[in-house]
């Protein structure tokens, strides 16, 4: 069983994703990083599901994929609106929510 390898792959992907969310200024890149994080979670779910010989993890992974698709849909729509309004998708220029 390659459980460790799967988990390590998941952890690496997760770290890359977190790095992307924190360090990237481009909204689309941040969205993609979030996808990466979600998929690293999927890998963990699948790895444990295979290990336990049950199909539950696969089902969860499918749900996660569906939710991720919806999330990207909403996210890209927001990016599009952002771009329409200010001709840029740089996150560092967005600080209206500053308290």
């Amino acid at each position: 069983m390659l459980l460790n390898q799967f988990l390590i792959l998941g952890a690496v992907l997760f770290c890359i994703g977190v790095y992307g969310v924190i360090a990237r200024k481009n909204a689309v890149m941040v969205l993609m990083s979030i996808e990466l994080i979600l998929n690293s979670v999927n890998i963990n779910l699948l790895a444990f599901s295979l290990r336990n010989g049950s199909v539950d993890g696969h089902t969860f992974a499918l749900y996660v994929i569906a939710v991720a698709a919806a999330e990207v849909g909403v996210g890209l729509a927001m990016v599009l609106l952002m771009y329409r309004n200010r001709r840029s998708i740089g996150l560092d220029e967005l600080s209206e929510m500053k308290g």
């Binding site: 977190v18 924190i22 360090a23 295979l50 560092d92 600080s95 500053k98 308290g99």
Partner: protein
């Protein structure tokens, strides 16, 4: 007994590298797709070289596989069961369920692989010239290549899941290709329509696959050791006599609904003519060898399921044959009122697909598959011919009445290839369509479906008539509109200007193929296309002329090579996939339980004369014959993978009758066209406006039987609008009522509370907490920086701290 049987059949079927590795064929274009997407724009030919090279590679592999399959069949005794070459790798597994991905290569697979790779290669070569300078040239080739990859994957599919994968890739790519010029609203609407209509059918595909899986899985695992998704598992299960009639009927009907959607059968054919909005090479590929053939292929692939589920041959009529019959006639009638040459061809395709379905529904499996094979060549040729005309002569217009006519003088090559393909499509002897279409009609009648044989003959008449009309309008008569440009140009400068205006006009209003380089053509009149366009036309026309001879039933048994190579044998086989006995002279014999069998086996193996067989063997021979009736009698042990089908004996009298009908169609249509368009016969011109009955019929046809109106205005509206209205009503009356009522009562209560509780009691507390909150807010203010990245960092930081706490608590 099984041991004896396996021992007996040591006939080693030859195989080869190409056959064993047929799964590589869809991978080649798939890789090429990735290369085009990532590197295409940087290449000197903008990625088209990857596409053409990969299709040629797939063609070489397919040709190798076809050659080796023919070797394999020729090496075995005639009529024997030829085991398909099946390979499978696990793709997904869990909890005892596993999905494989692999290959299932038999005669049908090899045929369609070869056709798809061949047509795709020619279409890509043609596109090099046709789309030169297009603004999305690279993406066009990427989609085209992926499209072929999807079809090839579907064809080699080992199981239903892999088949669905290819099926859906095609659905996606057809959307991208039909909407290639999406700047025009009509094109993107057509793309959406194609996608959604085929998706409607796809519901049937998913349902059918699921139903069949749950019904078949137990038995297929037990007998063959494969899952209920696998093609051969489903086939053997359907013929085992085991399935409950409800499960298999529901499964077959659901799968056929998918085929209706994909193959443009009535009533879901409406997307196909609209799909003409795509570039012409796409139409050609879509309509000849990929996409629309997928539905027919699905039915042919798991034919036993349909055979048993819909009781083909067992009853007077069935779902498939009825749908096929209706499609033939309604599509052919629609072709008469089209002025767009591509739409005539589109309805012609729908009608021809109806023939294939009708053949399959009447047990004429082989003629239907052969019709896929021949139809691919002549239909691709016709579409590419139409593209050649619009590319070089009519300024990207496809309007026959406005912009064509008299082109035979300017485009001799296009004209000749068009005529050959038209004759093949009409089914004139000895062109290829004759050998396939006539076989279908003949076999439908032979199987007892007399009504549908008449429908088929009527369809042949209509086919001949509408193709004559299209040919007349395009190539004969006097040049009109854009095609007449050259003549006017020679007459004087004034005419030249008006010609240019017209060209511009026709481009704006009718131009489907408005691509960047179109202005190049405005400067000169009709002429023959370049060799990149004519070479594929010539190759396809040659095949339209000759491919029928692969299965030329009229010339006797020795000419029926296609039947020998492709038709699966209806022989009882043992579950390891080896025929019990490979018998001579097309007769299946089954071993008895005698221990002395190996001797007989060697005899049978070496092809020794069996006439000297003992009485006991005669008995076993009888038994074998009895058992080989797959589909009519249930095999007790062992499995069947193909039903027993009969073939109509060829008769010149029947062929002669259909020939006469075809010629009658051509002649009557020709006379009518000359009267109507050339002589402007007063009695005929404007007849539809004067005669009410004819006018109504014409209007009915022009509006495509009002099916589009039915789908868009009635069905979509009747479902979407009441929901919206209902939601609005609930919103206005119930929700608002609740909200208003709650509001009024709340207001009264609030008044009291305000005076007594709020002013006195709460204010003190609120002011205190407000002050506290202000202080806390001030302290936390730096966190709310407005920087999204920082929020992300905080989120993950706190999640990490939470995880740490969890770990610490649990250890």
């Amino acid at each position: 007994m099984l041991a004896a049987a396996t021992e007996m059949t040591e006939t080693v079927l030859s195989s080869g590298w190409f056959l064993e590795n047929a799964w590589i064929i869809p991978i080649i274009p798939a890789i090429s797709f990735a290369l085009i997407i990532f590197f295409g724009k940087r290449m000197p030919k903008k990625g088209s070289e990857f596409g053409v090279a990969s299709m040629l590679g797939a063609l070489v592999f397919s040709a190798g596989a076809a050659y080796q399959w023919i070797q394999r069949v020729n090496g075995a005794e005639e009529g024997a069961y030829i085991a398909p070459i099946v390979k499978t790798w696990t793709w997904w597994q869990n909890d005892g369920v596993s999905l494989g991905i692999g290959q299932h290569v038999d005669g049908l697979t090899v045929t369609i692989l070869l056709v798809v790779a061949f047509i795709s290669s020619l279409v890509q070569i043609y596109s090099l010239e046709y789309l030169r300078g297009d603004r999305r040239y690279t993406h066009f080739f990427a989609s085209l290549t992926l499209f072929s990859a999807g079809m090839l994957n579907m064809v080699v599919a080992e199981n239903m899941i892999q088949l669905i994968l290819g099926w859906e890739i095609m659905g996606l790519c057809s959307f991208m290709l039909i909407g290639h010029w999406w700047e025009e609203g009509a094109n993107s609407r057509a793309a959406l329509k194609a996608f959604f209509t085929t998706r409607t059918g796809d519901i049937g595909l998913l349902t059918g696959t699921a139903v069949l899986y749950f019904a078949a899985n137990e038995r297929t695992t037990k007998t063959l050791g494969v899952s209920g998704f696998s093609i051969r598992g489903l086939s053997s299960w359907a013929l085992s006599g085991d399935p409950s009639s409800a499960a298999i009927t529901v499964g077959a009907v659901a799968l056929f609904i998918a085929a209706i959607g994909k193959s443009g059968q009535f009533p879901l054919h409406t997307w196909l003519p609209d799909a003409m909005a795509g570039p012409t090479p796409v139409s050609s590929l879509l309509h000849s060898s990929t996409m629309v053939v997928a539905g027919v292929f699905l039915v042919a692939r798991v034919y036993p399921v349909f055979f048993e589920g819909l009781n083909i041959l067992g009853s007077g009529a069935n779902f498939i044959v009825i749908i096929g019959g209706i499609t033939i006639v309604i599509a052919a009638l629609l072709a008469f009122v089209q002025t767009d040459i591509k739409k005539v061809l589109a309805y012609s395709t729908v009608s021809q697909l109806g023939y294939m379905m009708m053949g399959l529904g009447a047990g004429a499996w082989l003629p239907a598959v052969f019709h896929i094979f021949t139809h691919a060549f002549f239909k691709a040729c016709l579409f590419l011919g139409a593209g050649s005309i619009s590319h070089s002569s009519s300024h990207h217009s496809f309007e026959m009445k406005k912009d064509m006519g008299g082109l035979r003088k300017f485009m001799p090559i296009t004209f000749t290839t068009w005529i050959i393909s038209t004759l093949a499509l009409c089914g004139v002897f000895p062109f290829s369509g004759f050998f396939s279409k006539d076989e279908i009609i003949d076999n439908v009648g032979y199987a007892g479906y007399n009504v549908f044989m008449i429908v088929g003959l009527a369809g042949a008449f209509l086919t001949a008539a509408y193709m004559t009309r299209a040919t007349y309008l395009t190539f004969f008569g006097s040049p009109r509109g854009a095609s007449a440009g050259e003549h006017h140009e020679e007459e004087g400068h004034g005419a030249h200007a008006s010609h240019d205006d017209h060209a511009h006009d026709s481009h704006d209003t009718h131009g489907h193929d408005a691509h960047a380089s179109h202005d190049d053509h405005a400067s000169h009149g009709p002429h023959e296309s370049g060799w990149l366009i004519t070479a594929p036309l010539i190759i396809l026309a040659t095949l339209a002329l000759s491919s029928g001879f692969l299965n030329a039933a009229p010339f006797g048994h020795s000419w029926e090579n296609f039947k020998k190579w492709v038709e699966p044998s209806a022989e009882v086989i043992n579950p390891t996939g080896i025929a019990y006995v490979t018998g001579g002279a097309g007769e299946a014999r089954i071993s008895s339980d005698e221990p002395t069998e190996p001797v007989v086996g060697e005899e049978a193996h070496s092809g020794a004369p069996l006439a000297a067989a003992s009485g006991e063997e005669d008995h076993s021979k009888e038994e074998g014959h009895h058992k080989s009736d797959c589909g009519t009698k249930t095999p007790v042990d062992g499995v069947c993978v193909a039903p027993q089908l009969n073939h109509a004996p060829f008769k010149w009298s029947k062929a002669g009758l259909s020939m006469l009908i075809v010629f009658a169609g051509m002649l009557s249509s020709w006379i009518l066209c000359v009267q109507l368009y050339e002589r402007k016969n007063k009695k005929l011109v404007g007849l539809t406006e004067r005669n009410k009955a004819l006018g109504a019929g014409y209007k009915f046809l022009v509006n495509k039987y009002y099916l589009d109106a039915l789908y868009e205005n009635v069905i979509v509206r009747s479902i979407a609008h009441p929901i919206a209205r209902g939601a609005y009503w609930i919103n206005q009356n119930i929700l608002d009522g609740i909200v208003n009522g709650a509001g009024t009562s709340a207001k009264t209560v609030a008044g009291w509370v305000y005076r007594n509780v709020d002013q006195k009691l709460v204010d003190g507390a609120v002011n205190g907490s407000g002050n506290a909150a202000q202080a806390a807010g001030g302290a936390l203010q730096p966190v709310q920086s407005g920087k999204v990245n920082m929020y992300g960092a905080l989120l993950f930081g706190s999640a990490a701290i939470g995880a740490l706490i969890l770990v610490i608590i649990n250890t």
